[in-house]
Amino acid sequence: MIVNPVAGMGGSVGLKGTDGEMYNRAIELGARPVTPKRTRDVLSHIKNNERITLFVAPGKMGEQYMRSDDMPFTVIGTVAGDTSKEDTKRISEEMVNSGIELLVFVGGDGTARDIYDAINSKIPVVAVPGGVKVFSSVFSVSARAAAEMIEAFVESTDLIEEEVLDIDENAFREGRLASRLYGYLLVPNVKKLLQGAKEASGISGSSVEWKKEIATYTVEEMDKRVLYLLGPGTTLKAIADELGVLKTLLGIDAIFEGKSVGKDLNEKDILALFDKYKKRKIILTPIGGNGFILGRGSKQFTPEVIKQVDRENIMVVATMDKINRLDCLRVDTGDLDLDRLLSGYMEVTVGHKEKMMVKVRC
């Protein structure tokens, strides 16, 4: 098991990643580590560990999060001071050379690329979602699902190749989602536990019309006394367009009385707005292809933020073509209790005065 200790830290502070210099910026903005909790979530959900011999990366790349009542473990490799992608690559190579059979890593798309560079298809992996950008299909749907995948591997499963994507972090920060296929990693073949890749937004004539219809209806129904937080995505942008407000495509913006009161907000900004506005609603759209409404691509909606907005005040909008290709909606906020609370059925606005009851899973 190898953990990227800085992955995910840009999320709550709205930095959309921690590549390069952005890590220091995230620290300045008060970002907190995300992956230690994810690592603990995975370990605590592995029930049948008698047949597992665990090897972990040193210090904050794994060892530090182990507890005395965990399964016995051996530390592989060394690390000094701040960690980097070179440490991820070097230690994962050392692990493979020592004869491990499965590599579990905690991080985001960047970490997946480092692992791919180091081990390619030599051994299978279980990818635990912990980064800000987690769009590659190699990732499991949650930390708990990752634990189930590890158990499935121990019980013996087939392996399949899943995609590792290269997301341009600078483009992402500028509001564009530019991705290319970087490579494939082998994973246990348990489809229901894998998140699937993001699909591109619909740009067909009908998809654009559906977005417009959803936007018109949503704006008609807006309450002037309520603060609306609009998540990322083109369907949410259509709502802003309908209001005549400029929207950051991949960020979170706030609307009150039909006007913008905050753009590209981070967790701190949102909580500050909550001090001023007592009635709040969040409007979200699922990510095409995998159905995540929370926990992917909008990490600024932290558990702290979500808990201050009741479940009934979370509105979901989606075009019919997108919703028809999804098995369900998904949440993976990093807080398992909150994920359970958000699970069940939610109303999704799919057209003018038209709603669909869709299951939310965690």
Binding site: D327, G351, M356, V358, K359
Partner: protein, 203 residues
């Protein structure tokens, strides 16, 4: 490689109607300039009543159940929320979208595609027109049982339409409950089990 495509998308029976039906239809071609004989229509109604176990006064004939469903939706959606499931019989969905002032689709989710009864009952807190295909088209799932039908029609402001187009394959029907519950309607068709999709006979 197939020489010709096999048409499956309309879920039609692959076999032609019986020889007797073909022969009778052929003979009747000479009468196409005439309207249907009311006595023949009355006789058909009697046969349909015997077949379904529902009194004649409760049966309406229609050129296909899809037209009847459309009429029902058009007439009874005024002042009512329409509740359907998704996926469902496409013409029902289309008509619901066209006429609804408020439309709720309950998604049947994989892998089981079951209908969550509580989710449906929670919707019945205002005047509703509920239209459910049982078994569901296209999943083939049985969505309703008698207890659930009773729970729905016990809501006095709710109208329930159960589309039993595939009754002959499922053997599940609530037709015998129609007399007792004025807010329950059942639609049937001769398209599927009788190999008569082109004849457009629905009730």
């Amino acid at each position: 490689m197939l020489k010709e495509p096999i048409k499956l998308n309309m879920n039609e029976v692959a076999y032609p109607p019986s020889k007797e039906i073909i022969e009778t239809a052929r003979k009747s071609l000479m009468d196409l300039n005439r309207y249907s004989d009311p006595e023949d229509m009355e006789r058909l109604l009697g046969l349909l009543a015997d077949y379904s176990g529902v009194p004649k006064k409760h049966i309406i004939q229609s050129p296909g159940s899809d037209l009847l469903l459309r009429e029902i939706i058009h007439t009874y959606s005024k002042g009512r929320k329409i509740v359907i499931v998704s996926p469902s019989f496409f013409p029902t969905v289309q008509a619901a979208k066209q006429f609804a002032t408020k439309l709720i689709s309950i998604r049947l989710s994989p892998p089981d595609f079951d209908l969550n009864p509580d989710l449906l009952l929670d919707q019945l807190n205002e005047p509703c027109l509920v239209i459910l295909d049982n078994p569901n088209n296209p999943t083939g799932k049985i969505l309703l049982d008698r207890k659930m039908v009773r729970s729905i029609v016990d809501h006095r402001d709710v109208l329930l339409v159960v589309d039993e187009a595939y009754y002959e394959f499922s053997g599940v029907t609530f037709a015998d409950m129609v007399q007792e519950h004025p807010n329950l309607a059942i639609t049937r068709t001769m398209d599927k089990a009788f190999s008569l999709a082109g004849a457009r006979i629905g009730t």
